[in-house]
Amino acid sequence: MRVAVVGVGQTKFDEHWEKSLRDLSTEAGAIALRDSGIDGKDIQSLYIGNMSAGRFIGQEHLAALAVDQAGLIPIPATRCEAACASSALAFREAYFSILSGEYDIVMAAGAEKMTDLKGTDAIATLMGAGDQEWESAIGLTFAGLYALIARDHMQKYGTTREQMAMVSVNNHRNGVLNPLAQFPAEITVEKVLKSPLISDPLRLLDCSPITDGAAAVILVSEKIAKRFENPIWILGSGQASDTLALHHRKSMTELVATKVAAKKAYEQAGLKPKNIDLAEVHDCFSINEIIAIEDLGFCDKGKGGKFVEDGKIARDGEKPINPTGGLKSIGHPVGATGVRQIADVVKQLRGEYGNLQVKDARFGLALNIGGSGATSVVNIFGRDKPK
């Protein structure tokens, strides 16, 4: 059994003061349905990723609300949570629900409404993804956790402040052309290095923003996929876990969960890192893109900074990374990001991404990470139907 993605949708990622979470999830789902040509009444089940609507807006029981708002009652609706990797989990559950033979047409979505809380409350809410008793309790933040990782990477491998800045510069350069990006503006290395310190050595322009938004994709069985002109196939899917607290890991400069998830996805796809034509990776903080490049096998451990500096990650480079802007420029509504990344990989593989198109893209990869790496999900997609 093979499963394909035949519809994708994303709201603009932004500070949507005039829209609620329910508005955003319905909008993304409707765009995905229109994109696929499938009628809403043919959707058999919904899986939705969301990190923390309970704390961001006080709303739990979100999956039922989403089908209610979308006029899809009474189909089953399931919410998945793994912090910032929530919607990649929703995608995998949707995938498995088709593989199991139970359904043929399923929607996977992700949504988050973050700007209803003031900044310090949003930071505390995001820290719900860390270890409450031993990280959040001492005043750590996610910028703080990734700062600890960044410093260790600099100490161990000589990764420079400038190389981290170049990640943000590349993603913003790509995002300029993305009409759905929250911050489609070019920045310079100098601008990153002069932006305010958030948690040394990380500065404001190393950090992905606080964002509202939603994304949705439609998955179908092989049988249904035959009706579509340009289905994009799921070739491999891996997910792995690690310690919730960063300090409980033997190494802070690699995310073992990413390595394990990637190995599984590559094996299933029968592909090697060199075969991947583009990757959407989880640049919640600039250092995390450097670590992702290493953990996905695009270069040796410790060489990620140099890989970025050499321009290999540009859209027309050797290994285009975040060619649509990444979390940094597009925005990071935490529970929506995983499915947004998948939607972007699908658009690239269809070859219909206009100004954002990576040339001759056959194989694409999406890496979605929860917390400081306690959850990692890697999905690999292809243009041609696998054997």
Partner: protein, 136 residues
Amino acid sequence: MRMPHKSSVPLFWRLKDSKYRLIGSRCTTCKEVFFPKKNLCPVCRRRGSIEDMQFNGNGRIVSYTIVRVPPEGFEKYAPYAVAVIDLEEGARVSGQVVGNITKVRTGKQVRTVFRKIHEDGSDGLINYGLKWEIAE
């Protein structure tokens, strides 16, 4: 204001052994040490045998940061230093390092001190616990 994470007395009380007395665990099967206390050895699982272990509160900084944009509840302490610390006995922990934040460096020896951690609003609990100071 919504305070969904307003802390309770039991939340801190049940962590008293680790948070106030530096008690961790050792597995007598694989000899691995853990901080804080665990009730299951993740290496040996059912073959493991966990017992309490007293840590001495000495450690060494392996990475650090200065938190300048704090979460709700920590505003009045910022900027503050947070480090990942290798404990002398073998486990690792995160902790705030008190004193002059410009003196915090990787490789510095640190030891525990008892300090106020956080006040939960004007009518909430005042939480105390361990922080770290440079010992050299």
